[in-house]
């Protein structure tokens, strides 16, 4: 039986105090994952005594992209990300990933922090943030610590968050120079679909070569990881020498190495190859267009 007392925090300090003082507390943000599980009486939550509503904490909201350092508050909703002109201009792949999540109703409530803390294998927020080499700031009564988004997620539905900690914000350095990106996703239908495969490509070009590159999986692997083989294939390569089909093939091989042959492999192998091919195509086209 899932039964809990709802607590409402009015400030971050108060929320951290509650997390430090009480046991068996689950934090509630947008609620689009947690409230479904609680309503279904998911036995995973049999042990909780409290649900701590943090959804109104102003300290955890907002997007601040400076010239170099960027901060996204953990309670920023996917709708906020889509509507942000700064995000659209500087980090369009984050807006693309946010658009692909749920439906209008869900994007109006669901938060980027909630997506990370829930840490579903198919969560759409990971690959863009890992491509940016973003870090999460985890706050507790005793202070704050930073962890890369990649290390934050341990396994599907498992993160490094401690019981007295709250995901406060996501921080990263804004990419500099000439950079281009692509976000790709396949689901079973457009709206409300759970990602079968998604990925982010973020690359920087200097003169006619790939200076920096991150191609990161989402949903294709149990936890989101950079495709090391694809990245090393693309890095330092002249744009003219890049074969998008080869990049796709390498990604698909790498995925199968990680996941092993599964019932879904005959579908996922060519599907992922094509997505990576499209992402690399996008990257090359954008780079060519901007000269």
């Amino acid at each position: 039986m899932v039964e809990y007392q709802l607590l409402r925090a009015t400030s971050l300090v108060e929320a951290l105090e509650i997390l430090a003082e009480k046991d068996n507390v689950e934090c509630l943000a947008g609620g689009t994952d947690l409230l479904v599980d609680l309503h279904k009486q998911d036995s995973k939550f049999d042990q909780i005594d409290y649900v701590l509503d943090i959804s109104s904490l102003k300290e955890l909201k907002g997007i601040n992209l400076g010239d170099k350092k960027a901060v996204i508050g953990s309670l920023t909703t996917h709708a906020d990300l889509i509507e942000s002109e700064e995000i659209q201009q500087k980090l369009p792949f984050i807006a693309e990933a946010a658009k692909s999540i749920g439906s209008t109703q869900i994007r109006n409530r669901a938060t980027i922090g909630g997506n990370l803390v829930n840490a579903a294998a198919c969560a759409d927020s990971f690959s863009p943030l890992i491509a940016l080499e973003a870090e999460v700031v985890l706050a507790s009564r005793n202070g704050e610590r930073k962890l890369s988004v990649r290390d934050f997620v341990k396994a599907p539905y498992k993160t490094a968050l401690k019981k007295d900690e709250l995901l406060k914000e996501i921080v990263f350095e804004l990419p500099q120079g000439k950079y281009y990106s692509s976000y790709q996703k396949i689901g079973r239908r457009k709206a409300l679909s759970i990602s079968r495969i998604s990925l982010t490509l973020l690359g920087e070009v200097k003169v006619d070569k790939v200076f920096k590159i991150q191609v990161v999986s989402g949903a294709a692997t149990p936890s989101p990881v950079p495709f090391a083989e694809v990245n090393s294939y693309l890095l330092n390569k002249k744009l003219a020498d890049i074969d998008p089909v080869e990049a796709g093939r390498l990604a698909a091989e790498e995925m199968v190495e990680i996941t092993g042959e599964r019932w879904s492999t005959p579908y996922k192998r060519p599907a992922l190859a094509k997505l990576v091919e499209r992402a690399v195509d996008d990257f090359l086209k954008e780079a060519a267009n901007s000269g």
């Binding site: 109703q105 109006n108 709206a191």
Partner: protein
């Protein structure tokens, strides 16, 4: 379990309520306020039948606890009709035969209203995006989209 004090405004009427920890906005609207226009479909955020507007945004009321919306302005389908009769949006749904069994209609109306409040002249793509979280198993959506387009044209009237 201690009850929580909540003040919400629903369809311009203020309510001071004591709600349970697990009470969803959908439960409050239907059971406490007896506003049964809002429907419970899937209870997991897939169907949109329970869509209401909270502070100008369309949300699934099955995925929000009432205690989370303390101080908010809420609109349900009952808020559309006035002394003058049906709203232009409702009229458009009737005129375009955008209703068959009617179960999805309150949610569709709320998603459409949230869109039109924010963007009075949406194109077809924007309408489709606004309605993508609302399932209709009767109409095939075409009439619903046409109804919203019609309402958008007459919204100023």
């Amino acid at each position: 379990m201690a009850k929580l004090d909540v003040e919400i405004t629903v369809n311009s009427k203020k309510y001071n309520l004591k709600v349970g920890s697990q009470e969803r906005l959908l439960d409050t609207i239907r059971k406490e306020l007896k506003l049964t226009g809002t429907k419970e479909g899937c209870s997991v955020g897939e169907c949109g039948a329970c869509t209401v507007i909270v502070d100008d945004k369309a949300v699934n009321s099955c995925m929000i606890l009432t205690a989370q919306v303390d101080g908010s302005e809420i609109i349900t389908v009952e808020g559309l009709e006035s002394k003058k009769g049906l709203s232009p949006l409702q009229k458009a749904f009737v005129e375009k035969q955008a209703i068959q069994c009617g179960f999805c209609t309150p949610g569709m109306l709320m998603s459409a209203l949230a869109l039109l409040k924010n963007n009075p002249r949406p194109n077809k793509e924007k309408i489709k995006t606004a309605l993508e979280g609302n399932l209709c198993r009767c109409t095939g959506y075409q009439q619903i989209i046409e109804a919203v387009e019609t309402a958008a044209k007459e919204w100023g009237v």
